[in-house]
C-alpha cells in the first residue's frame, strides 16, 4: 500500500464525494453526485474514479432499482440525442477532471444545459412556469 500522505490529496468517496451538491460553471445548482464511475485497468489492476454520475435514473440505480434506473438513463439518452456534440456524450456522466473545487459543494466546468439533471427543470419551465405571468421578473422590492 502506498503511503497516502506522500502525494496527492486523499479523499473518501462516500464521505467527500457522494451526495454532494453540484454547481455548474456559472454557479447554478445542478444536482447531486448520485453515483461515481469506477474504471479498472486490466493490466495493472489499478482502479480509478473516472466520472461523476448524476441524473434521475442514476439515483434510482444507486438506490437498488437497477432495472428502472437503467431504463430511465436509456430513455434520457434517446430523448436527448447529443445534438451539440460530435463525440458520443452521456448527459449523466461528468468526467471527473471537470470537477474543480471539491468542498461542501463540487464545482463543475460544465454547463447545466448539458446535464441530464436539468432536463426536468427545462420541461417544467416550458410547460408550466413560462405560462404563468410574472415568471421572468424578480420579486418586487
Amino acid at each position: 500500500m502506498s503511503n497516502p500522505t506522500a502525494t496527492g490529496r486523499v479523499l473518501h468517496a462516500t464521505l467527500d464525494l457522494l451526495d454532494r451538491q453540484l454547481r455548474d460553471r456559472n454557479g447554478k445548482l445542478c444536482g447531486n453526485v448520485d453515483d461515481l464511475e469506477i474504471t479498472r485497468d486490466e493490466e495493472t489492476g489499478q482502479m480509478f474514479i473516472t466520472a461523476i454520475l448524476c441524473g434521475p435514473g442514476v439515483l434510482a440505480y444507486r438506490m437498488g432499482r437497477r432495472r428502472l434506473g437503467r431504463w430511465l438513463e436509456e430513455a434520457n439518452r434517446r430523448v436527448h440525442d447529443t445534438p451539440t456534440h460530435h463525440e458520443p456524450f452521456e448527459r449523466t456522466r461528468i468526467p471527473i477532471e471537470l470537477a474543480g473545487q471539491i468542498g461542501p459543494t463540487i464545482e463543475l466546468a460544465v454547463d447545466v444545459d448539458d446535464m441530464a439533471t436539468h432536463d426536468t427543470e427545462r420541461w417544467t419551465l416550458t410547460h408550466i412556469i413560462s405560462h404563468i405571468p410574472g415568471n421572468a421578473s424578480r420579486a418586487h422590492q
Binding site: D19, P104, E121, L125, S130, A139
Partner: protein, 410 residues
C-alpha cells in the same frame, strides 16, 4: 444605527414568526385542560429550537448549505428519502392546518364559511410565494404577528395572582381528570409545536436566501437567543389566558375562535380585532413558510436550483413543487377535515420525525470541513444538544404508541 434597526427588526420578526397554528392550538388546548402543568414543556421546546436553529443558521451562513442538503449527505440517499417523504407528508398537514387557520380567522370577520375562503387564501399564499420579495415577506408577517402580544396584555389585565401562576407552572403534576398518557401526549404536542422541523428548514434556507455569511453569525445568535424565547413567552401567555379564563368554566378548546375568546372578553372589541389580525398574520406567515419548505426540501434533496431570490423561471421545479403543495393542501382542507385535529396530528407527528432532521445538523455543526475549525460547536452547546438528541429520540419512540393509547388525545 441602520444595523441596530436591522437586528431589532430581525428579532421582532422572530418573535412574531415563532407562533403558528400549531402553537396557538396546542397552547390554548393545554391551558384549558391542564392549567399550567405543561408550561415547562414550552420552555424545554424553545431551548431545543434555539440550540438547533442556531446550528442550522451557522452552518448555512458558513458553507451555504441548507438543512435538507445535509440530511442527504449525512444520512445517505435512502434514509434521506425516508426523511424527505415523512417531512413532506407532515409539512402538507401543517400547510393544510395553516391555510385553514387563515380562512378561519377571516371567517370571524366576514361570517363567510371558512371552506369558501380556503381557495382564496391558497391563491394569496401562492401569489406571495410567487411574487413577494423574501425579506418583505418575512418582515410583514413577522411584524403583524406581534399583534399576538395582546394575549400578554390579556393576562396582565386579568391580573392573576402571579405567585400562584408561577408556582403552578413550576410545580407540575398530572391533573386528576387526566391520565399520565394524555398528559404525555399533550406534552409531546407542545414540544412538537415548538420544535416543528419546518422551522429549521425555513430558517436555514432563509439564511441562504438572505445571503448570510460569516458576518451574520452575530445576527443569527441574537435572532435566535432573543426572538425565540420571547416567542415562547407569547405561547405561554396564550396558555395562561385559557387557563385563567376558560378552564374554570370547564371549557375545552376545540375551535380556533375559542382561542380569541379570552381576549375579547377581557380586552374588548379592539383586543379582538388585534388578536384576529395576529392570528391571521401568524397562520399566513406559517402557510408561506410551509409552502416554501415543501419546495426547499424536495429541491435540496435532489440538488435542484431553489429559492425565491431570483425570478421563478430560474427555479422552475422548485416553484412547481410549491404550487403542487398548495393545491394539495387546499384540496385536503376542502374535504372538511377538522382544522384543529389536523393541527394536532401535524405537531404530534412532527415530534416523531424530529431526530431524523436534527441529528444531521448536530453532526455537521461539529464538522470542521463545513463550518471551519473555529466555528464548530463548543463543549457546552454540544452537551446541551446531546441531551436534546436523547429527548428527541425518546419522544419519537413514545409518540405513536401514545397516539394509539389516548386515541389522539381524547
Amino acid at each position: 444605527m441602520k444595523k441596530v434597526l436591522g437586528v431589532a427588526l430581525g428579532v421582532l420578526t422572530a418573535i412574531g414568526g415563532f407562533v403558528d397554528m400549531g402553537d396557538l392550538v396546542a397552547n390554548a388546548e393545554t391551558g384549558a385542560r391542564f392549567d399550567m402543568n405543561l408550561a415547562w414543556v414550552v420552555i424545554v421546546g424553545v431551548v431545543g429550537i434555539i440550540v438547533y436553529a442556531e446550528m442550522a443558521g451557522r452552518v448555512a451562513a458558513l458553507c451555504g448549505r441548507p438543512v435538507f442538503d445535509l440530511v442527504r449527505e449525512r444520512l445517505g440517499p435512502r434514509f434521506g428519502l425516508a426523511n424527505l417523504l415523512a417531512s413532506f407528508f407532515i409539512n402538507m398537514l401543517t400547510l393544510t392546518a395553516e391555510i385553514a387557520g387563515v380562512a378561519l380567522s377571516l371567517s370571524l370577520v366576514s361570517s363567510v364559511n371558512y371552506l369558501f375562503l380556503i381557495p382564496f387564501v391558497a391563491l394569496l399564499v401562492w401569489l406571495v410565494c410567487w411574487r413577494m420579495k423574501f425579506e418583505t415577506m418575512e418582515r410583514v408577517f413577522g411584524l403583524l404577528g406581534l399583534c399576538l402580544l395582546v394575549f400578554a396584555v390579556t393576562v396582565w389585565k386579568i391580573g392573576p395572582d402571579w405567585n400562584h401562576l408561577f408556582s403552578d407552572a413550576t410545580h407540575p403534576h398530572v391533573p386528576h381528570s387526566e391520565t399520565v398518557f394524555t398528559y404525555a401526549y399533550f406534552g409531546i404536542a407542545l414540544f412538537g409545536a415548538a420544535m416543528t422541523p419546518y422551522e429549521v428548514f425555513f430558517f436555514s434556507s432563509g439564511a441562504v436566501e438572505d445571503g448570510w455569511t460569516r458576518k451574520d453569525l452575530g445576527e443569527n445568535k441574537i435572532n435566535v437567543l432573543i426572538g425565540f424565547p420571547l416567542g415562547a413567552a407569547l405561547s405561554l401567555a396564550i396558555m395562561a389566558c385559557t387557563h385563567l379564563l376558560l378552564a374554570p368554566r370547564n371549557i375545552s378548546v376545540d375551535q380556533l375562535s375559542q382561542v380569541a375568546l379570552p381576549v375579547a372578553s377581557v380586552v374588548g372589541r379592539l383586543g379582538l380585532a388585534i388578536v384576529i389580525i395576529g392570528i391571521f398574520a401568524a397562520t399566513f406567515g406559517a402557510a408561506l413558510e410551509t409552502s416554501l419548505s415543501a419546495g426547499y426540501i424536495v429541491a435540496q434533496y435532489l440538488g435542484w436550483p431553489w429559492g425565491k431570490r431570483g425570478a421563478p423561471r430560474t427555479a422552475s421545479r422548485f416553484h412547481v413543487v410549491i404550487l403542487m403543495a398548495i393545491i394539495g393542501a387546499t384540496l385536503f382542507g376542502l374535504t372538511g377535515v377538522d382544522p384543529v385535529k389536523v393541527t394536532e396530528y401535524s405537531i404530534v407527528l412532527s415530534a416523531a420525525a424530529l431526530p431524523l432532521t436534527y441529528f444531521p445538523i448536530l453532526v455537521i455543526a461539529n464538522d470542521p470541513r463545513y463550518v471551519g475549525p473555529e466555528h464548530t460547536n463548543g463543549r457546552f452547546l454540544n452537551a446541551l444538544a446531546s441531551v436534546y438528541l436523547v429527548i428527541l429520540l425518546l419522544v419519537a419512540i413514545a409518540t405513536i404508541p401514545l397516539m394509539i393509547i389516548t386515541k389522539g388525545g381524547s
